[in-house]
Amino acid sequence: MTGRREHQVAVGQAVLPVELTPDAITLLRFGAVTRNAHRIHYDTGFARSEGLDGPVVMAQLHGCLFYRAAAEFAGESGQVREVEWQNRAPACAGDRLVVTGTVRSVDAVGGEVTLDLLERCGSGDVVCCRGRAVVVLR
């Protein structure tokens, strides 16, 4: 998508999906590198005692997927200015996470493009995060 410019982007245009299936190993690695020892992310018994189905994906890992979707849309010469997401339902280790989206608005003067983003998890159609991103295209 290198070379994309805001005048080539239309409201409603799709954001190419990005996906990740974080397993228990992924969660352990991500928790270690971020120094996140919250037991809901690796201790199955504890996670269930909290009412969860099992160890759950960290909020920041969801954020990384939202960021990647925005960055790939912006392309190598573009820039991600903002990423926002709200957690709607927990995603468990082993769930396939897919972020999709559409262009909400285009500011032809400032060059900013706002994307609506949605993350679905698991084999069903559960929405685990909703959010948006603002990118600048060059």
Binding site: L20, P22, T26, R29, F30, A32, V33, T34, R35, N36, A37, H38, R39, I40, D43, F46, E50, G51, M58, A59, Q60, L61, G63, C64, L65, Y67, R68, A71, V80, R81, E82, V83, E84, W85, Q86, N87, P90, C129, G131
Partner: protein, 161 residues
């Protein structure tokens, strides 16, 4: 005598801390650590996962995902659930369930390897949500900066049940 619930205790404590800014050092950003973060997040973009590249960049989500800088924390700094005692205001020592509610991350500068990162944060809103006792939604403003100024602004929400 009225006995307050645990959630009421959290709410009272949290409201008392509203608007109080605190500082925390996250240490110096190392390229290797940022690359390890990117790989753990499933990133494949070469400029984010290979610190030997000339165009290597610190993953923009790296510092905002760090709960602590090196060398980490002492055992006494953790709650029984593994979260840091001071991470979610008002919850230290109380048997409550903590969940992330979401974030709004706004980049105003570029985090670079070698940056000494300081986090400033303040609780800015305490809301009771849901029916019955419901849950608390805590909103926190965070600013990550280095010597040259602010780099990332974050609005973060915590759910306390």
């Amino acid at each position: 005598m009225v006995t307050s619930t645990v959630l009421e205790q959290v709410e009272e404590r949290a409201r008392a801390s509203l608007g109080t800014w605190e500082r925390r050092s996250l240490g110096v950003v190392r390229a290797e650590d940022a690359a390890e973060f990117a790989r753990a997040a499933g990133e494949r973009a070469p400029h984010l996962v290979d610190p030997a590249r000339a165009d290597f960049a610190v993953h923009p989500m790296y510092v905002v995902s760090l709960l602590r800088g090196a060398p980490g924390a002492d055992a006494a700094e953790f709650r029984p659930d593994g979260m840091y005692r001071d991470e979610v205001p008002g919850t230290d020592g109380l048997d409550v369930r903590l969940m992330a509610g979401g974030q709004d991350v706004r980049w105003v500068g570029e985090v670079r390897a070698g940056d000494l990162i300081e986090l400033r944060r303040a609780l800015t809103a305490v809301e009771r949500k849901g029916v019955g006792e419901g849950f608390l939604l805590l909103t926190m403003e965070k600013v990550y900066g280095a010597a040259r100024g602010p780099l990332v602004e974050v609005t973060e929400r915590f759910i306390v049940r």
